[in-house]
C-alpha cells in the first residue's frame, strides 16, 4: 500500500500534463473567456445604469431649478402687476377726487354768486317795495328822494347788524 510504483507516477504526470493541455484548449479558455465577457457586460450594464441614473438625477435637479426660477418669475410678475394696479388705482382715485373737489368748488362758487346776485336783487326789490308801501302809507309827506335815502340808511343798518 505504501510502495510507490514509479510507472504509475510517470503515467500520472503524463496524463495530467496532457489533460491540462487539452482542457485548456477545449474547456478553460472558452469558459473563462465567456465568464470574463459576461462579467464585463454586467459591469458595463451596471455602469451604464449608474450613468443613466446620474443623468436623470441631474436633469431632475435642473428641472427643479428651472421650475423654481419660473415660480419666482411668476411671483415677481404678479407682484409687479399688483403694484402697478395699485398705483394706477391710487392715481385714478386721486384724480377723481381732485376733479370732484374742483367741481364742488365750482358749484359752490356758482351758488355763492347766484346767492349774491339774488341778494342784491332782493335788496333792491325790498327797498322798492318798502318805499312803495311807505309812500302809500305816509302819502306824499316826504318826497321820494328823501325816503329812498332814509330806507337805504335803515337797510344798511339792518344788514350790518345782521352781519355783525
Amino acid at each position: 500500500m505504501l510502495e510507490i510504483n514509479p510507472g504509475v507516477a510517470i503515467w500520472t504526470i503524463i496524463t495530467f500534463l496532457i489533460l491540462v493541455a487539452i482542457l485548456k484548449k477545449v474547456a478553460w479558455k472558452p469558459i473563462i473567456d465567456a465568464l470574463t465577457q459576461r462579467e464585463d457586460s454586467i459591469r458595463k450594464a451596471l455602469e451604464d445604469a449608474q450613468k443613466a441614473k446620474e443623468e436623470a438625477q441631474r436633469l431632475m435637479e435642473e428641472n427643479k431649478r428651472n421650475l423654481a426660477r419660473a415660480e419666482e418669475e411668476v411671483q415677481r410678475i404678479i407682484r409687479e402687476g399688483r403694484e402697478t394696479a395699485e398705483r394706477i388705482r391710487a392715481e385714478i382715485l386721486e384724480k377723481a377726487r381732485k376733479e370732484a373737489d374742483m367741481m364742488i368748488e365750482r358749484a359752490r362758487e356758482e351758488i355763492e354768486r347766484h346767492r349774491e346776485q339774488a341778494m342784491l336783487q332782493l335788496r333792491a326789490q325790498v327797498a322798492d317795495l318798502a318805499i312803495e308801501v311807505a309812500s302809500k302809507l305816509i302819502g306824499e309827506v316826504l318826497n321820494e328822494q328823501k325816503h329812498r335815502k332814509l330806507v337805504e340808511k335803515y337797510l344798511q343798518e339792518i344788514s350790518s347788524e345782521k352781519r355783525a
Binding site: G7, I10, T12, T15, V26, W28, I32
Partner: protein, 287 residues
C-alpha cells in the same frame, strides 16, 4: 464502493476462515485499496490490463504497465474532457449559463476568485488552467472511489506523488519566472537574517520546498485511503462476527462514512489546489 465490491463477501469469508488459525486477516482490505493489474468486476469476472516489459533507465527499473489506477485516471480525464467541452460549447450558444454549466461555473469562479486571485493575485491567472484542472481531476478521482466498481486513483502514493511533483515544478517555475533563477533561490532566505545564519536558512528553506510537496502527497493519499479503510472495516465486521445482526449497524455507519467521504473528496480537492496556489503565491511574493 461497499455496494459494488460484492467480492468482499467471498474474500472476507475465506480470510476469516483462514484467520482462525491466527493469521492476518486484513490483506483483503489492502487488496481493495491498493493498485492492481486487474479491474475487478465481480461477480462478472475481471479485466486484465495490458502489461509491458519493464524499461531500464540507468539503474532504475520502471514498469510502465497500465494498472487499475492508471485506467481510472484515464477514465476521469476522458469524462472531464467530454463534460467540460460540452459546458464550453454551451457558452458559445448563449452567454447565460444553464444546467451543468451552472454547476461547473460555481467551481470555476470559486477557484478563480477565491483561490487564484485572492491567494496569488493577478500573476496567478497565468496558471489558472493548471489549478482548474488540478481541482477537477482530484475531485473526480476522489469521487470515483465512492461509486461501485470504482477505484480511488488519489489513494495511491504514486499518483498523489506525481501530482505533487507537478505542483513542485510549478512552484519553482512560477518563482523563477518572476524573480529569475538566481533571484528566486536567493529570495528563499528571508530578509534581515545575519550573514552567518543565511546559508543554514537557505538549506532549511530549500528542504522546505520539498517538504511542501511531500506534505501534499501524503495528505491527499492518507485522506483518501483512511475513509476507505474505515468503510471496509465496518463492512468486514459483519463477516468477522458472522452474524446478520451486525449488518444494520455496520451498514448504517458505512453509509455515514460514505457521506463523509463525499465531503472529504471535495475538501481534499480544495485543499490540494488551495495549498498549491498558496505555495505558488509564496514563491511569487517572496517578501
Amino acid at each position: 464502493m461497499w455496494i459494488g465490491n460484492l467480492a468482499f463477501a467471498a474474500d472476507t469469508l475465506k480470510h476469516a476462515e483462514n484467520s482462525h488459525a491466527g493469521g492476518e486477516s486484513s490483506s483483503w482490505m489492502l487488496h481493495h485499496i491498493s493498485d492492481s493489474r486487474t479491474i475487478d468486476l465481480e461477480p462478472f469476472g475481471h479485466i486484465t490490463l495490458p502489461q509491458f516489459p519493464p524499461i531500464r533507465i540507468g539503474g532504475l527499473e520502471i514498469d510502465l504497465s497500465i494498472t487499475k489506477h492508471v485506467f481510472f485516471m484515464w477514465l476521469v480525464s476522458l469524462i472531464l474532457i467530454i463534460v467540460l467541452s460540452i459546458v464550453a460549447r454551451s457558452y458559445k450558444k448563449q452567454i447565460v449559463p444553464h444546467g451543468l454549466a451552472n454547476l461547473i461555473e460555481v467551481f470555476v469562479v470559486f477557484i478563480r476568485d477565491e483561490i487564484v486571485l485572492s491567494v496569488i493575485g493577478k500573476d496567478g491567472l497565468k496558471y489558472l488552467h493548471y489549478f482548474l484542472t488540478l481541482f477537477f481531476f482530484i475531485l473526480l478521482c476522489n469521487l470515483f472511489g465512492l461509486i461501485p466498481y470504482g477505484a480511488t486513483a488519489t489513494g495511491n502514493l504514486a499518483v498523489t506523488g506525481g501530482l505533487a511533483f507537478l505542483s513542485f515544478i510549478l512552484i519553482q517555475l512560477a518563482g523563477i519566472r518572476k524573480h529569475g533563477l538566481i533571484g528566486y533561490y536567493k529570495g528563499l532566505v528571508p530578509h534581515g537574517v545575519p550573514a552567518f545564519v543565511a546559508p543554514l536558512m537557505f538549506i532549511v528553506e530549500f528542504l522546505g520546498l520539498f517538504a511542501k510537496a511531500f506534505a501534499l502527497t501524503v495528505r491527499l493519499f492518507a485522506n483518501m485511503t483512511a475513509g476507505h479503510i474505515v468503510i471496509l472495516s465496518l463492512i468486514g465486521l459483519i463477516f468477522i462476527f458472522k452474524s446478520v445482526l451486525v449488518a444494520p449497524v455496520s451498514i448504517a455507519f458505512a453509509v455515514f462514512i460514505n457521506l463523509l467521504e463525499i465531503l472529504v473528496a471535495f475538501i481534499q480537492a480544495y485543499i490540494f489546489t488551495m495549498l498549491t496556489a498558496l505555495f505558488v503565491g509564496l514563491s511569487i511574493h517572496q517578501h
